[in-house]
């Protein structure tokens, strides 16, 4: 069964460092998303991406965040200068674009900022 894959599964970084989280969405999907889940809390929408540009973004997605689809398969989230409060699980998701609105989530990348 096709799945969304994310790397790394866990990254530890120092405050102020840049981090890139990588995702490979399901191949025939057209919409891509990043969500964040702080430990024990709800899943929060960060950004959606369609047709090679950002479609929607939340107030969490400020200037320190950026997304890119550098080739036909990868979808990345960059955090330029990490803060302690960026520590969270980051989930990538993708959606086919037709039919149901089902989002398929990856297993997440845990980011720990020290």
């Amino acid at each position: 069964e096709p799945e969304v894959t994310q790397t790394p599964s866990h990254q530890v970084t120092q405050m102020g460092q840049e981090v890139i989280l990588r995702c490979v969405p399901i191949s025939n999907h057209l919409y891509f998303y990043w969500y964040r889940q702080i430990l024990g809390q709800k899943v929060e929408f960060l950004v959606s991406f369609y047709n090679n540009e950002i479609s929607e973004k939340s107030e969490i997605f400020d200037d320190q965040f950026s997304v890119e689809r550098p080739d036909g398969s990868n979808f990345t989230l960059k955090i330029r200068s990490t803060k302690l409060e960026d520590s969270a699980m980051y989930f990538c998701a993708s959606r086919q674009g037709t039919g149901t609105g089902e989002l398929f989530f990856g297993e997440g990348s845990r980011l720990t900022v020290l």
Binding site: V4, V43, L46, Y50, S55, F91, L103
Partner: protein, 115 residues
Amino acid sequence: QQQVKQSPQSLIVQKGGISIINCAYENTAFDYFPWYQQFPGKGPALLIAIRPDVSEKKEGRFTISFNKSAKQFSLHIMDSQPGDSATYFCAASPHSGGGADGLTFGKGTHLIIQP
């Protein structure tokens, strides 16, 4: 107005019992209401979803009840099993879930089914 309020925060149910989780929303533009199930260390996975043209949807032991006038929807798990123990999130989005809009999630319910 973007919030989806979910209750209870945690729930313990005996094996074979009925688990009920409730959600309420305010944004009348929402017209797609999925429930996601999340096991520890995994991403959320779609369990069942409903659109407001029906008041109930059933898939196996899982049923969504939807009350459009009250802007509320709930998940019922019949004959709850220990394997159902997980965190459940309700969510909502506009455009029938077909636009680029992200899902707005509730805060989650940690469900434990006791053997």
